[in-house]
């Protein structure tokens, strides 16, 4: 026990540092090697790019050969619009379920929670038929609709917990003041659950940004391709050209990590102000 007290903080940092290395090493390896020449990649994969091995040929190829600008625009539009819908509609439904005790409210909550357990992918074929029927194939709208449906259950589940924790007094004070339910939601509830919204945003964003499946079957056209789809096709094309492969992986990794770092502060605040139950 005495020993552990002395070694304590150092040991803790050693363990955490060690795991952080394990978590980051593969990512680091890919990003670092994407800046090397082919010889550099194969001769000494662990070395940092040097004057002789530094080479941007991978990026040049990727950027010349594929429309990364379009992919990014598409991915960002789809992700952001879906996020807005998931957060807004999810919060609205969560508020209704948390606040109003209408007949069947528990059944409704259960119904909305089923979606957490089943991947929407199982319904792909009928989904596709439906999207075709609506004439939405090869549009980003189709993706947004599907992603919204896919993100809602978890969003509602988490947000409901948070909304239930907002002191009753706040809502009642507003009701005493004659404020409408809509405005209570918009002006009081939404601002107060911001940390929770950030949490949900992160959890929703990951699968949307990274999804390969639905872009592939619902909107595979060149104009509507997302980054992940673009990367996947690109990797398929240049599977033996490691410069290009590593460069495209890097291009796919870096933006999402930047987005994540922006959200991460909010994320833990959200998680800790009332655990996700």
């Amino acid at each position: 026990m005495k020993l552990s007290k002395r070694v304590g903080p150092l040991g803790v940092h050693a363990v955490l540092m060690c795991y952080t290395l394990i978590a980051l090493f593969p990512i680091y390896l890919v990003i670092m090697n994407s800046f090397k020449s082919k010889k550099g990649i194969f001769r000494d994969p662990l070395a940092f790019p040097t004057g002789t091995t530094f080479d941007l040929v991978g990026f040049e190829k990727v950027i010349a050969r594929s429309s990364f600008d379009i992919y990014f625009t598409n991915s960002i539009s789809v992700t952001v619009i879906s996020l807005v819908f998931v957060l807004l509609l999810g919060a609205m439904a969560a508020w209704a379920l948390a606040e109003y005790d209408f007949p069947g409210s528990n059944m409704m909550a259960l119904y909305l929670a089923i979606g957490i357990m089943i991947p929407i992918r199982l319904g792909s074929v009928s989904l596709l038929k439906m999207i075709v029927g609506m004439g939405l194939v090869n549009t980003l709208t189709a993706l947004v609709l599907v992603y919204t449906a896919q993100g809602l259950p978890l969003a509602i589940f988490i947000l409901r917990e948070f909304i239930a924790q907002i002191p009753n007094d706040l809502k009642e004070a507003a009701r005493c003041d004659g404020v409408s339910e809509y405005r209570i939601f918009w002006s009081i509830i939404l601002p107060l659950i911001r940390p929770a919204l950030a949490t949900v945003a992160v959890f929703t964003m990951i699968p949307i940004w990274n999804d390969l499946w639905f872009p592939l079957i619902l909107a595979p056209s060149q104009e509507t391709a997302t980054v992940t789809l673009g990367i996947q096709q690109f990797i398929g094309q240049y599977v033996t050209d490691w410069n290009a492969v590593l460069a495209s992986l890097t291009l796919a990794i870096v933006p999402i990590l930047i987005l994540y770092v922006i959200f991460s502060r909010q994320l833990i605040r959200g998680l800790t102000s009332g655990a996700v139950k």
Binding site: D169, L170, R175, C176, V179, S180, Y182, I188
Partner: protein, 383 residues
């Protein structure tokens, strides 16, 4: 204009009845305080009046109109919550203006015009000395300031009735005294009807025109503060009002005289002859005798006498409390002045004036006294 009349108000949550028929009359401009132990239904009653809960049974009238089915805003009431319920993401100004920005015209816009709102908010802020804080957020305010913002939010709406639910319980002692005075002044200035829930003795005694003591969903007694202090209708009220609590001594009626009862006290087997209406009790009845700590004093120059051993002495400077040996029961408490030299372990002689001795029958109801005790009927505060 804003008299409030509760007739047979009942409230159930599911099968549990929480309020069992409450009748109270509140006159326009009156300051009414609801007191009672935790869980007795004070908040529920207040929320029924506010319209935040539906009334299960009975009739609630405000200004002569039955309001059972009206929304809170239609009732023209304003409520100040124990937690203040300030919107944490809005500045003080917005907190106060929030309820006003909304008229009947639209969802998000409309309502009263901006200038008018601004005027109202600034006026209220001025009267509450909040002008310098209008652009702060609640988290940047002290407890007392938050309290004032909550009141300000109520004032700007110019309601007929103010409802307060334990508004001071989150404040520290010093601030509490100040804010209490401010609320008293507010009542004077606004001339509005105020209903105020608290479990603090001092607040209730000092603020109220009328105190309603609630116990287990019933009204235990209703009257002016001094009426309750001097003439508690039952043992519950007697024990609840006054701090430290009234001392209770069990006893048995050993003789019934014209104008008084002889009671044999279990405490020291002494007999006291107490001037109460004798026809309300008969020989052999168990009764309880009550005397407030501040009405007993060391010595034996008054009618009611007791001798006891002192267990603990607490010295507060201005006064000292003596706690007397009382077997298994809660110790008896006597308040003496700060210079008393009595020590723990001392035997003391105590006495009290008969006019300060209360007698309760086995059901806990007070027996009417025969002595004149006019000296206790102090003039009612006009403020």
């Amino acid at each position: 204009m804003a008299d409030i009349k509760l007739s047979g108000i009942k409230k159930s949550y599911g099968k549990a009845e929480v309020l069992h028929g409450i009748d109270i009359d509140i006159k326009d401009g009156e300051f009414v305080v609801f007191v009672g132990p935790s869980g007795c239904g004070k908040s529920t009653l207040l929320r029924l009046i506010a319209g935040l809960e539906t009334i299960t049974d009975g009739k609630l009238e405000i200004a002569g109109e039955t309001v059972n089915d009206m929304t809170p805003s239609q009732r023209k009431i304003a409520m100040v919550f124990q937690s203040y319920a300030l919107y944490p993401h809005m500045t003080v100004y917005k907190n106060m203006a929030f309820g006003l920005t909304l008229g009947k015209k639209g969802l998000f816009g409309g309502g009263e015009n901006k200038k008018l709102i601004d005027e109202k908010v600034r006026k209220a802020a001025k009267s509450l000395k909040l002008e310098d804080y209008l652009h702060r957020y609640p988290r940047e305010l002290s407890g007392g300031q938050r309290q004032r913002v909550a009141i300000g939010r109520a004032i700007v709406r110019d309601p007929n009735v103010f409802l307060f639910d334990e508004p001071l319980s989150n404040l520290d002692a010093a601030l509490r005294v100040n804010t209490r005075l401010e609320i008293a002044k507010l009542h004077q200035d606004l001339e509005a009807t105020i209903i105020y829930v608290t479990h603090d003795q001092v607040e209730a005694m000092t603020l109220a025109d009328k105190i309603v003591v609630v116990n287990g969903g019933h009204v235990a007694q209703c009257g002016s503060p001094l009426e309750l202090y001097h003439h508690p209708a039952n043992k519950f009220v007697a024990g609840f009002i006054g701090s430290p609590s009234m001392n209770f001594l069990e006893g048995t009626v050993t003789a019934v005289h014209a104008g008084s009862l002889d009671v044999l006290l279990d405490y020291d087997n002494s007999t006291a002859s107490i001037p109460v209406h004798p026809d309300e009790a008969k020989l052999g009845d168990k009764v309880t005798i009550g005397i407030r700590p501040e009405h007993m004093k060391e010595g034996n120059d008054q009618d009611f006498k007791l001798s006891a051993k002192v267990n603990v002495v607490e010295r507060l400077g201005e006064a000292s409390y003596l706690y007397l040996e009382n077997g298994e029961n809660d110790p008896l408490c006597v308040k003496t002045d700060g210079h008393s030299t009595t020590k723990a372990g001392d035997k003391v002689e105590l006495c009290a004036d008969f006019s300060a001795v209360h007698v309760f029958n086995a059901e806990g109801n007070a027996l009417a006294r025969t002595t004149s005790d006019e000296k206790y009927i102090a003039p009612k505060l006009s403020a």
